[in-house]
């Protein structure tokens, strides 16, 4: 790939205390595609994802070395402005966590903290983003109800709308469907497929079938090492590494 990628990881090592969670990872995440990170539990998938927006900073005893270039800027540099880095990426977590406020305020939260004040402008943003995440029809008559009253599936779509409202370039999903029912999961997957023209999407999943359904590009992690990465078709149909083949066939998990 010749074009410049949003996210470029170089020799990334992450340690929790003495335990090394990620070992010398180097990879480029392709733009405007869905990249799926797969691998067995505890292999470092989530750590890698959380390194991208520096949520790992918030944990105890974490040390990261190497570089993660986002738009050419090394975000692991202590001088990097963490607020700006995070603004570039929307995050969907395993279980949706709406903020303790109304549906409207959830979506308006990001724009407000980044300086949008006008009522009219906020109204437009909220409507646009809720439509973008296919939630508008279900909530348009109760925008000022507490977000906690929505169903879990609706909450996850709200979290998507909330993330999109800060106009990120990248969407990160940390097993974003693991708390959802099959129907809601499918809607989120569908959403990702629609959004990939405009956003770079990175999703962690432990569901292989899901990875096959949505992935354009795949990273396979095992025990903190990046074993193999490449276009989805290659990884799923013709993996080069024995470990990858075993994982995809389901003999290791």
């Amino acid at each position: 790939m010749e074009f410049k990628n949003h996210i470029c990881v170089q020799n990334l090592n992450v340690y929790y205390g003495k335990v090394q969670a990620l070992k010398n990872i180097s990879v480029e995440i392709p733009d405007k595609k869905i990249t799926v990170i797969i691998g067995p539990s505890g292999c470092g998938k989530t750590t890698l994802l959380k390194s991208f927006n520096r949520l790992i900073d918030l944990m105890d005893n974490v040390k990261a070395t190497g570089k993660i270039l986002v738009d050419g800027e090394d975000i692991l540099d202590p001088k990097a402005e963490v607020v700006d880095i995070r603004k570039k990426m929307g995050l969907l977590s395993q279980k949706p966590y709406p903020l303790p406020m109304s549906i409207y305020d959830n979506v308006a939260y990001g724009p407000r903290i980044h300086g949008t004040k006008g009522r009219k402008e906020l109204d437009q943003i909220v409507e646009y983003r809720l439509k973008e995440s296919s939630l508008w029809e279900e909530v348009k008559d109760r925008l000022h109800d507490p977000a906690s009253r929505l169903s879990v599936g609706q909450q996850q779509r709200l979290c998507l709308a909330r993330g999109l409202a800060v106009e990120p370039e990248i969407i990160l999903g940390d097993e974003p469907t693991s708390a959802l029912d099959p129907n809601s999961s499918q809607r989120i997957e569908q959403k990702f497929l629609e959004l990939k023209d405009r956003y770079t999407i990175v999703v962690v999943t432990h569901i292989l079938r899901q990875a096959k359904r949505i992935a354009d590009y795949v990273l396979f992690l095992y025990m903190g090492e990046l074993i193999e990465h490449g276009p989805a078709r290659e990884i799923f149909e013709n993996p080069k590494q024995k470990l990858t083949r075993e994982y995809i066939q389901g003999s290791i998990s």
Binding site: N53, L55, L58, M59, D60, V83, D84, R86, K87, M89, G90, L91, S93, Q94, K95, Y97, P98, L99, P100, M101, S102, Y109, G110, I113, H114, P146, A147, S148, R149, C159, R162, G163, V166, L172
Partner: protein, 283 residues
């Protein structure tokens, strides 16, 4: 009957017994206050300050102590909140879980919680002497604020520790600063708990006698000045109970009744407020 079933029944019985003892205790206290205090209750009690000879059984009321206690407990609660909210936000948002400073601060708060209120009174008094203050509303506010500060902190801290890290992460990943996360997300999520903490602290503050004996003093007039002594309900009860006259002692019980009613009113008010804000809390 097998032994596991006996075990189950014995412990169930024990739990019911404990619950009954506590409820009965509360009802008993209320009954005593009402039976002994109600006959001495009249409009003058809550609308008048003590007149000459009040403590000998002559006319007057305890408006001085009602006003004084509300001002003092309200002021102390506000002061304690002003100090404790930043502290608990620092503990829960800025410090990492298990940080040495956080462990030490929580330990200190627990120790402070256990310090008897007379010690806060004595400490407050020393502080006042140092600053050249007399017994006054301000002195009382400072002493009571010291007393209720650890209570308020720990009560809020308990609630904030329950907030999932993921909720804060959600806020961070939208690009908010720690300050924004603290005040817009953590405070809102913990709001019912914060209200409860304020209430518990207020209740503890308005009912404490030992911390105000030296620091707030006492006066028979209704005073609003920060720099003059104020009367408080617990001391009013104490002085009236200390007289040898049955009618004055009955008024002490009436005063207890008033104090209890104030506390119950605030409890119920806080419950209603808590319910109103509960809706937004994310589970």
């Amino acid at each position: 009957m097998d032994s596991r079933k006996i075990e189950e029944n014995v412990f169930k019985g024990l739990m019911i017994f404990s619950s009954l003892v506590i409820s009965a205790g509360l009802l008993w206290i209320l009954a005593v206050i009402i039976i002994k205090g109600l006959p001495a209750m009249n409009l003058a009690m809550i609308t008048q300050a003590p007149k000459g000879g009040f403590y000998l059984g002559k006319e007057g009321g305890i408006l001085n102590a009602i006003v004084g206690s509300l001002l003092l407990a309200g002021g102390a609660t506000a002061l304690a909140l002003f100090l404790s909210l930043p502290l608990v936000l620092y503990l829960n948002v800025y410090l990492k879980k298990g940080a040495r400073l956080a462990v030490f601060t929580r330990f200190s708060l627990d120790v402070l919680w256990g310090v008897p209120s007379i010690v806060y009174g004595a400490f407050g008094f020393t502080l006042m002497l140092f600053f050249g203050l007399r017994a006054s509303l301000l002195g009382g506010i400072i002493a009571v604020a010291l007393l209720i500060f650890p209570i308020m902190c720990r009560a809020m801290d308990e609630v904030m520790q329950m907030i999932p890290q993921e909720l804060m992460n959600a806020s961070y990943s939208l690009g908010s600063t720690r300050w924004e996360t603290a005040f817009k997300v953590v405070v809102r999520q913990a709001l019912p708990g914060i209200l409860t903490a304020i209430l518990i602290a207020f209740g503890r503050g308005i009912g404490d006698a030992a911390s105000v004996i030296f620091t707030a003093g006492f006066t028979d007039s209704v005073s609003f000045s920060l720099f003059r002594p104020v009367a408080t309900l617990p001391l009013a009860i104490f002085y009236q109970l200390g007289t040898p006259f049955p009618e004055v002692q009955a008024r002490a019980h009436a005063s207890s009744l008033i104090l209890t009613i104030i506390i119950i009113t605030i409890s119920i008010g806080a419950r209603i407020l808590t319910k109103r804000f509960q809706g937004y809390v994310v589970k």
